[in-house]
């Protein structure tokens, strides 16, 4: 085990995959000379040269399409979209082509493409630069979507994504880059489509992903200390495919669920999770499923306003309180 930041874990994994497989190459805006807007690709142009680390003109649809073409011939492009907000300009290539070429060419032509991109608010980047759009991709058959919350998961899932023969959207989060954690040594991978129980508990389950999973774990540990509540935290890690089994089993045990997500509430990741739980664990639920999500507004630029619009630990604690009250009623009634 070594302690490192989420940023370092991503950087080291990219470097190792470039070393391991000469078909792997990186492409995106400002990733070479500038070393990435968030410095994930620091030093890689110098080490691997401009054929393996390609700086592009500003044209997201163009370089995603180009990467798809390269992937069809067996290369393994790893595209960086500076932030998920600019992915809107590449939607046709991703949704109509990356996700469908394998199907439409009768399985003759896989598209082993990874698109890395950070989402998330809290950085004072304002309405068009602070969004959580991952659910768009989680909706599309033919794509895989992963959203690691820890350095260890970032590393294991990025390795798997690069070696996977399908197009994978790899969601990072701006506020996670400097977070630290233990990362196992060696060439370990994490399967796509496997959730992780971050903390076991029996009173209720908080289901989350990406940065909000880190906040959820923090809240769960605190409430265990302060209120002797035993909270289970499940990080789904993959949004597509979604690990129904782990989520459903957790709720069968705790009988209560809160979904904690940074994206907008309506039609968000939480909606899919809540629907899955009522389909597969209805008889085990002792209370309505709670969703704690972002206010459905374009994110403000000003710091206090932005913080007000983002889902917070305080709101999560309140949701826990609502469910815990119900629990007491059940126990003592």
């Amino acid at each position: 085990m070594a302690e490192m930041t989420y940023r370092q874990a991503l950087h080291d994994t990219l470097r190792e995959e470039l070393q391991r497989d000469e078909n792997v190459f990186l492409i995106g805006e400002e990733i070479g000379r500038f070393e990435g807007s968030y410095k994930i690709t620091a030093g890689l142009l110098q080490e691997f040269g401009p054929k393996r680390v390609v700086d592009t003109p500003i044209c997201e649809n163009g370089f995603v399409g180009l990467a798809i073409g390269a992937a069809m011939l067996g290369l393994r492009p790893i595209v960086e979209i500076m932030t998920i907000n600019f992915i809107a300009l590449a939607m046709d290539e991703i949704v109509n082509h990356a996700a469908k070429i394998y199907y439409m060419f009768g399985g003759q032509c896989p598209v082993p493409l990874v698109i890395r991109t950070p989402g998330g608010g809290g950085q004072q980047l304002s309405a068009t630069h602070s969004q959580n759009l991952e659910v768009w991709f989680a909706h599309v058959p033919g794509l895989k979507v992963v959203a690691p919350s820890t350095p260890a998961d970032a590393r294991g899932l990025l390795r798997t994504a690069v070696r996977d023969d399908n197009p994978v959207l790899f969601l990072e989060n701006l506020a996670l880059y400097n977070t630290r954690g233990e990362v196992p040594e060696g060439d370990y991978t994490i399967p796509i489509g496997k959730a992780q129980v971050m903390k076991e508990g029996h009173d209720l389950t908080i289901i989350s992903y990406s940065r909000m999973a880190v906040v959820a774990l923090d809240v769960a540990r605190r409430l265990e200390q302060e209120r002797q509540l035993s909270i289970e935290v499940v990080d789904v890690r993959s949004l597509r495919p979604l690990d129904h089994e782990t989520v459903v089993n957790s709720v069968k045990k705790t009988n209560r669920a809160i979904i904690f997500e940074e994206d907008w509430r309506s039609y968000g990741v939480g909606a899919e999770l809540a629907a899955t739980l009522q389909e597969e664990a209805f008889d085990y639920l002792d209370a309505p499923i709670q969703r704690v999500a972002g206010a459905e507004v374009p994110l403000p630029y000003s710091k206090p306003l932005e913080q007000a619009a983002l889902p917070s630990a305080r709101q999560l604690v309140e949701a826990v309180d609502r469910l815990a009250i119900r629990k007491r009623r059940v126990v003592y009634a």
Binding site: E29, P57, A295, V297, P300, S302, A308, A309
Partner: protein, 365 residues
């Protein structure tokens, strides 16, 4: 004539050389107008310096330097009429000032707030930070004005990097096909963050794009405010007369870093920066005005002091403006707030109570 029907060529149109000598035909501009140009350029530079200083002090958010591009940005806005539209990026703040957006409104926006009083009558769209997207908007404004029969011209401005986006090329194509009364201006400042101009396009000039779209184009020395003014004036006149769109490339240079979050010395050769510093657009007009006895030393100092005083006053005013109410971002999500969002607003207010002092009189809830 700065605007070429077919090939804009490789030699930029120039009226003042870098030493401030007249090398072309002097446009019909009064001494007062020339002094106004000079003052606005000084104001733009001082304003940029001030917001960058405020950002360092934690009083403003991320800001992109305007330094070095004052002739381009002041010169492109100067020929516009009040009824004309202007759609820009974050790099053309000086154009917005010339078109009439108050400094205090801009300072308030750089504090991180949506100005409640963005002056719609200036016909400036709020500056765009998603690259290239304002150019189709400009073409749309122009086409709408033509359908309405208004003698209105729309001007869309973007950077060299933006010319790689589909939006830019699609907009140019529309402008050509529909002969829209639009002027599309590229501020080629040499760099798109760390990407140099030659890594953006293999075309010899960005003005040359016009040929492929059947849009007349001009290549202009963007540090020569007289050349910028005169070219844009002709293009606006052409558009107003129903003669269609024009593409204009302004050759200039971003002397500062991309934004306050960038350090350009990491990727730029200092010799290149110094070479462009010698072509400073403000110094060029200053030399010209001095030589013609249109600007005395005292007048020059007075201008310097007066722009600083104007900026001081704007900053004071913007800092005295109340911050937005903590739930204000619900106000303009849509024309009417659907029930679910009303609930979310009520929910939010339980967590962040608006202090009454933060509300302006009559402010919308």
């Amino acid at each position: 004539m700065a605007i070429h029907q077919i090939d804009p060529g490789l030699v930029p149109f120039q009226i003042l050389d870098p030493e401030g000598n007249l090398v072309g035909e002097m446009p019909a501009l009064s001494p007062e107008r020339l002094l106004y140009f000079y003052r606005m350029m000084r104001l733009a530079r001082a304003f940029s310096d001030r917001i960058i200083a405020m950002q360092r002090q934690g009083r403003a958010t991320t800001f992109g330097s305007l330094t070095g591009q004052e002739a381009a940005t002041v010169g492109l806005a100067a020929p516009l009429q009040p009824q004309d539209w202007l759609a820009t990026s974050y790099r053309e703040i000086a154009s917005l000032i010339v078109k009439g957006v108050p400094l205090s409104t801009l300072v308030y926006s750089f504090r991180g707030y949506t100005p409640p009083n963005w002056p719609a009558e200036t016909r400036c769209l709020p500056y765009q930070i998603v690259i290239g997207t304002q150019i189709p908007h400009a073409v749309g404004l122009a086409m709408a004005a033509r359908i309405a029969g208004d003698p209105v011209v729309a001007v869309g401005v973007c950077g060299d990097g933006a010319t790689s986006e589909g939006d830019f090329n699609e907009a140019l194509n529309f402008a050509g096909v529909f002969r829209a009364p639009v002027v599309i201006i590229v501020q080629n400042n040499g760099w798109a963050i760390s990407v140099p101009r030659h890594r953006q396009s293999a075309a010899p000039t960005l003005a040359a794009r016009g040929v492929g779209f059947g849009v007349p184009a001009a290549l202009v020395d963007g540090n020569d405010i007289l050349a910028v003014y005169e070219t844009v004036r002709q293009a606006v006149e052409r558009a107003r007369a129903g003669d269609g769109p024009t593409l204009i490339e302004l050759l200039t240079y971003r002397l500062g870093s991309h934004t306050t979050a960038d350090d350009a010395s990491r990727y730029r050769d200092p010799a290149e920066v110094e070479a462009w510093r010698a072509k400073d657009p403000i110094a060029r007009l200053q030399k010209f005005l001095r030589r013609r006895d249109l600007l005395s030393e005292e007048q020059d100092e007075e201008i310097g002091a007066s722009v600083l005083a104007e900026i001081d006053a704007a900053v004071r005013e913007a800092e005295a403006m109340p911050p937005m109410a903590p739930d204000s971002f619900f106000d303009y999500v849509s024309a009417t707030l659907p029930p679910r969002l009303q609930e979310q607003r009520a929910e939010l207010l339980r967590f962040v109570a608006p202090s009454p002092s933060q509300r302006q009189p009559g402010e919308r809830r």
